[in-house]
């Protein structure tokens, strides 16, 4: 069985949540933009929700901003990848493939810019990718990486969804994850016709694999010069 929730992420989160609930300090639900716009005044100041004491690069922080920043980090990675794929096409890239990658690039940039705009002063900084492991001249390397990124994105959103407290944010995450799943299925079909929901990503119950933050970030970090930590969720880079 593949769809595991690690003890680390689940346990820590639950302990925190229980503490907050029992302490009567449940987070107030505030409109996205109300918070985002009020925090524009904080430009240039480290957002309070972020843990700047961590030694492992940038910490996503905790609470809903932590999860949204986690998504923002992954979208930055995906957007940077497709921008590079389109800017330096491998030799023999078909028109169909070029159009496919260009459109997915638009979607990922849209996700990235959305999080950046919505999070405003609470956003983590722009990250610097490290794509030295990817051969952008090789179709095989590019498509394999695209497949890995899309599958990872789906697993990340599905695995972190339950950590979101605000129903509005959860819906937005849901709006994005299904588009990532559409990308993933498409890329997989390009590699092998019929592999849109392969056994490596969908279990025997027909459930997509879900991964914890602590499982996803070490993989994402191998493609990032600026490392990401999630000390509240059991992972420090």
């Amino acid at each position: 069985m593949k769809s595991e929730i690690t003890e680390t992420s689940g346990g820590i989160n639950l302990a925190r949540r229980s503490f907050l609930k029992y302490a009567g300090a449940g987070a107030a639900t505030v409109g996205f933009l109300a918070v985002a716009s009020s925090c524009k005044k904080l430009d240039g100041v480290a957002p309070r929700s972020l843990d700047s004491t961590s030694s492992g690069g940038i910490d996503i922080g905790s609470g809903d901003y932590g999860i949204l920043n986690y998504a923002f980090a992954l979208e930055q990675l995906e957007a940077a990848f497709y921008i590079q794929v389109v800017a330096t096409p491998y030799s023999g890239m078909s028109d169909n493939e070029k159009e496919c990658f260009s459109t997915i690039r638009q979607h990922e940039v849209c996700h990235r810019e959305f999080f950046k705009t919505a999070l405003a002063g609470n956003a983590i900084p722009d990250l610097t990718p490290d794509f030295s492991k990817i051969d952008f001249n090789s179709r095989t390397s590019v498509i394999a990486t695209a497949k890995a990124f899309e599958d990872l994105g789906v697993q990340a959103y599905d695995g972190a969804g339950y950590l979101i407290q605000d129903p509005g944010y959860l819906t937005i995450a849901g709006k994005i994850v299904s588009v990532e799943a559409r990308h993933a299925a498409y890329i997989r079909n390009l590699v092998t016709f019929g592999d849109y929901a392969g056994n490596d990503v969908v279990d025997m119950n027909g459930l997509n694999k879900a991964s914890s933050i602590a499982e996803v970030l070490p993989i994402a970090n191998t493609f990032l010069k600026t490392k990401i930590s999630a000390s509240h969720y059991g992972y420090t880079a």
């Binding site: 069985m1 769809s3 595991e4 929730i5 690690t6 003890e7 689940g10 346990g11 639950l14 302990a15 949540r17 229980s18 609930k21 029992y22 409109g31 933009l33 459109t103 638009q106 979607h107 940039v109 849209c110 996700h111 810019e113 959305f114 705009t117 919505a118 789906v154 599905d158 695995g159 969804g161 339950y162 979101i164 407290q165 944010y169 959860l170 819906t171 937005i172 849901g174 994005i176 994850v177 299904s178 588009v179 799943a181 559409r182 990308h183 993933a184 299925a185 498409y186 079909n189 019929g194 849109y196 929901a197 969908v202 279990d203 025997m204 119950n205 027909g206 459930l207 997509n208 879900a210």
Partner: protein, 288 residues
């Protein structure tokens, strides 16, 4: 349902609740520590036994089983559709049999999974309603009357079911907020429905039936990009570009130009409420 609220509420009237379910007063922690040992799929069973242990046959909150029964109803429809399609001689070409069989297997697995979860939560799985795949409300003579004899129609209906399924799970997700196990499972099914939607759209294109993207390319004022006007209602609102108060069509792409309507709408799938989904399906595909 919020599981943590429920536990809190129970504790108000029964201070010994945690003592009942765990002599070491760590029952809540146990819910997740199971996670390291068993799959998500098995966790509802653990949850179900937690409540049963405390209150013999006490059912879980109705709202969660209601949501799960709603999901089960949609899965009954999808599973019936693919099983009928698979059984219809000469409908699915040999080249696509394995492709469609994988989707069929997933939908059948979803039915079984949801039935099991509902039972384990102390609820009763709903029975399958009667279906009319022609969308004729039992007449068998609806607008898609050649659905089991014409592969193009079959794929068109399939695409609508999958895209609508994605919207339905997305619409129901907030009702499961705070319930780690059930919400994660629902999100995991949601992602698989989106993979199916992508797969069917891809198939329609490469078989030359309809030039269509694997994501939903809505134009302003029309969410439906399928070329089937009859299902406009199933795509209503997919053209939305406002996300969390941000007009994402105006955000700039990597060339410094506005992302625009089509890509902005395609980058986000939209939810449909349970009420909307049932209004679309009951009286057409689901016999009233």
């Amino acid at each position: 349902m919020n599981l943590f609220n429920i536990v809190e509420e129970i504790e108000k009237v029964d201070p010994e609740f945690k003592e009942r379910v765990s002599p070491r007063r760590d029952a809540i922690k146990n819910i997740t520590s199971f996670g390291s040992k068993v799959a998500v799929a098995a966790l509802p069973f653990a949850l179900g036994s937690l409540f049963k242990k405390a209150y013999a046959a006490a059912p879980a909150a109705a709202s969660v089983t209601d949501v799960l029964n709603y999901a089960l109803t949609l899965e009954y429809l999808e599973s019936y559709f693919y099983n009928q399609g698979t059984a219809a001689a000469g409908l699915i070409p040999a080249s696509d049999k394995a492709y469609i069989a994988d989707i069929t297997d997933d939908e059948n697995a979803h039915v079984k999974f949801l039935q099991d979860v509902i039972k384990q939560l102390g609820g009763t799985p709903v029975d399958s309603p009667k279906f009319d795949l022609t969308a004729g409300n039992g007449s068998g003579n609806g607008p898609f009357k050649d659905v089991l004899t014409n592969y193009q129609t079959f794929l068109a209906v399939s695409e609508t079911f999958e895209d609508t399924g994605v919207r339905a799970y997305k619409g129901a997700a907030p009702d499961l907020l705070g319930n780690q196990v059930v919400l994660t499972a629902a999100l995991s099914i949601h992602a698989v429905e989106a993979r199916h939607a992508s797969a069917i759209r891809y198939l329609r294109t490469i078989r030359g039936y309809e030039e269509i993207a694997v994501w939903i390319n809505s134009t302003a004022g029309l969410g439906n990009d399928t070329g089937i006007a009859l299902v406009n209602g199933n795509y209503k609102g997919e053209d939305n570009v406002m996300q969390g108060g941000v007009d994402v069509s105006k955000l700039l792409d990597s060339n410094g130009k506005p992302i625009g309507q089509i890509d902005a709408a395609a980058a986000f799938d939209e939810p449909l409420s349970m009420q909307d989904v049932l209004a679309l399906l009951v009286g057409s595909f689901i016999v009233h």
